[in-house]
């Protein structure tokens, strides 16, 4: 059942559950961050509305920089602004930032020890009709290998808002991974959030499999958990929105409680969140694992729902993976 302590959205299993784009929660968080700290500035690469910097721009026009289509410059300009005491957020699509500008992010931000926040919208295949060029499914891998970088993939718009506000104060570079499309709102204003803390969102008295999800696919994991319960299989579902620093303690405890894991992410299986979980557990408490994610392929055009199903990341695929890991 849902973990009552997290004060989740009581309607999250309803067919008409409220749906808001995760990226728009980031946009709300950006305005709040701007209100909280006069040091927050926002940089845009010709995607101001789409990458959700517009509300900030309207409210704080003097703290907004439009750089044109130039993501490499954007990363390094932000580094320079951080050197003068600013807390810059750079906004674009994940494919271009931190995709195209990866080396600038590595050298001028992380190596340089500048606390720039990188907001990558349009992550995952659920970008939909734009097709594979615009669907970043390698971004977790390329950011989590960078020293000092924190990597956060919020599960819904409300968590994205909280993560954005929290990112202001880390003193480190942060990558915020954001999705384009409207997805179910699972948390509420009252749900606690802390960077680096995994949360058990679905509990069972005697779980036999742990599901670890990041991003909007957490909802699919919950749908799978409920259906599995009806089939007599009890699982536990964890929201791992902070991928780095990874919550080792919670993951080890989960592995000990359940003995088997399935990881769920809208990202390449190779190098993604599941890999990060495996790196942790192999060292501390190895258990059989299955990985839900994109299996070494590129995306394509389609509706978000079609693509989630096609690449094997929907509710039924998660249930199959649970049965597979139970057979091992």
């Amino acid at each position: 059942m849902l973990n009552a302590a997290l004060r989740l959205n009581s309607h999250l299993f309803d067919d008409d559950v409220e749906q808001i784009a995760i990226r728009s929660g980031f946009g709300d968080g950006l305005v709040r961050a701007g209100e909280t700290s006069p040091l927050v500035v926002v940089l845009s690469g010709d995607l101001t509305e789409s990458a959700q910097a517009l509300a900030f721009k309207k409210k704080f026009p003097d703290r907004f920089v439009e750089l044109g289509v130039a993501e490499q410059n954007m990363a390094s300009v932000a580094s320079g602004m951080a050197a003068m005491g600013k807390i810059p957020f750079i906004t674009s699509y994940a494919m271009f930032s931190p995709g195209r500008n990866w080396e600038q992010v590595r050298t001028t931000i992380a190596y340089n020890d500048r606390a720039v926040k990188i907001a990558g919208s349009h992550a995952g295949v659920s970008v939909g009709p734009d097709g594979g060029t615009h669907q970043a499914i390698e971004d977790i891998a390329i950011t989590r290998v960078i020293p000092r970088m924190m990597v956060i993939c919020p599960c819904d718009a409300i968590e994205a808002r909280k993560a954005t506000e929290a990112a202001v104060w880390t003193g480190t570079p942060v990558y915020l991974r954001l999705a384009r499309n409207k997805t179910p709102v699972m948390t509420t204003d009252d749900t606690p959030f802390e960077i680096g803390r995994a949360q058990t969102v679905w509990t069972s008295a005697a779980p036999t499999v742990g599901l670890v999800a990041t991003g909007a696919l957490l909802h699919k994991a919950l749908l799978a958990a409920r259906a599995l319960h009806d089939d007599g299989v009890d699982v536990e579902v964890v929201n791992l929105s902070t991928i780095k620093p990874i919550d080792e303690e919670s993951l080890i405890a989960l592995a000990k409680r359940t003995g088997r894991l399935v990881t769920i992410e809208e990202h390449q299986i190779r190098g993604g969140m599941g890999s990060a979980v495996a790196e942790c557990l192999v060292r501390h408490f190895p258990v059989p694992m299955e990985f839900i994610g994109v299996d070494d392929r590129f995306g394509q055009s389609g509706t978000p729902e079609q693509l989630i199903e096609y690449y094997g990341m929907g509710r039924d695929a998660i249930m199959v993976a649970v049965h597979r890991v139970l057979e091992r």
């Binding site: 300009v77 602004m81 600038q104």
Partner: protein, 287 residues
């Protein structure tokens, strides 16, 4: 303000001493770049001993001018100049490129916090300098301190420098002064053979920069160019400094093979002999 004869001779003597340090460092390190550091010794000398507002005893001073070295591979000249300016003992220079040294093969501010940026990968310094200048413009501090960025000519082939150049022009960042070390060489040969950059001044003018060209070995001309930049209130300034790679050591001059290799002990001795002879001449010049 024009330099007095005494100031000019003092700067020339300092540039000579810095060149000697560069040779000693490179021989001791056994690897590193020779041509660029020697070629930029005069520019660095003018900056650290004439133009920059800085305090070597308090590198974190908020009001200091910022100096961004974009082409980090010429760091021997940066380190040598900083040591002579008093940031750290000159004895430390012979630790260049060695394990545990603060003087990393390419500048790393985690090891030497007095550096404004870490650098090495080309084409990224101007963007950071532009970011600093924008931050100061936002805070109405553009009149309080200036942002200087030193670049190579070869690194202009990186598209990012053009992205940064356009943005600086758009913001009319008059608190930003960049300088290109126009020595016409890069690793694979002469720049105009590898990838033609000319007409270089026109390119920067097209991005709305105020452009100056100077003899990069004439300390008085270099100082005058930086002074002129201070009087330009509607644009960023780009100084194209024409330099001779390997300047000061006849055998190294104008030869792109010296871009990325150090002198051996014998070549180092030869270079030092020549530089010491030049030092004698400088000290006997009339003021």
């Amino acid at each position: 303000m024009l330099l007095t004869g005494h100031q000019r001779i003092a700067l020339e003597a300092m540039a000579n001493a810095i060149r000697q340090s560069i040779i000693e460092m490179l021989v001791s390190a056994g690897s590193g770049h020779t041509a660029g550091p020697l070629g930029m010794a005069d520019v660095f000398t003018v900056l650290y001993f004439h133009t920059l507002r800085h305090d070597p005893s308090n590198p974190a001073w908020e009001g200091r001018d910022r100096l961004i070295l974009s082409n980090g591979h010429i760091c021997p000249v940066l380190y040598a100049t900083m040591a002579h300016a008093g940031y750290f003992p000159t004895e430390e220079l012979n630790t260049l490129r060695k394990f545990g040294s603060r003087l990393q093969g390419h500048p790393h501010r985690e090891f030497l916090p007095a550096l404004e940026t870490s650098s090495g990968p080309l084409g990224e310094g101007l963007s950071q300098a532009v970011g600093m200048a924008i931050a100061d413009a936002m805070d109405k501090k553009a009149g309080e301190r200036r942002i200087y960025c030193l670049m190579s000519d070869g690194e202009l082939e990186e598209g990012q420098t053009w992205e940064a150049g356009m943005l600086a022009g758009k913001w009319a960042l008059h608190n930003l002064v960049a300088l290109i070390d126009r020595n016409n060489i890069q690793i694979d040969g002469f720049t105009e053979n590898v990838m033609p950059l000319e007409p270089l001044a026109d390119k920067w003018r097209a991005w709305k920069w105020h452009v100056l060209e100077v003899d990069g070995h004439n300390v008085a001309a270099i100082a005058a160019a930086f002074d002129e930049a201070k009087s330009v209130y509607e644009k960023p300034t780009m100084i194209i400094a024409h330099t001779i790679p390997g300047k000061g050591v006849a055998e190294f001059e104008r030869d792109f093979h010296w871009h990325g290799k150090p002198p051996d002990a014998e070549q180092g001795e030869m270079a030092l002999r020549e530089l010491r002879a030049t030092a004698q001449q400088i000290s006997s010049e009339p003021e």
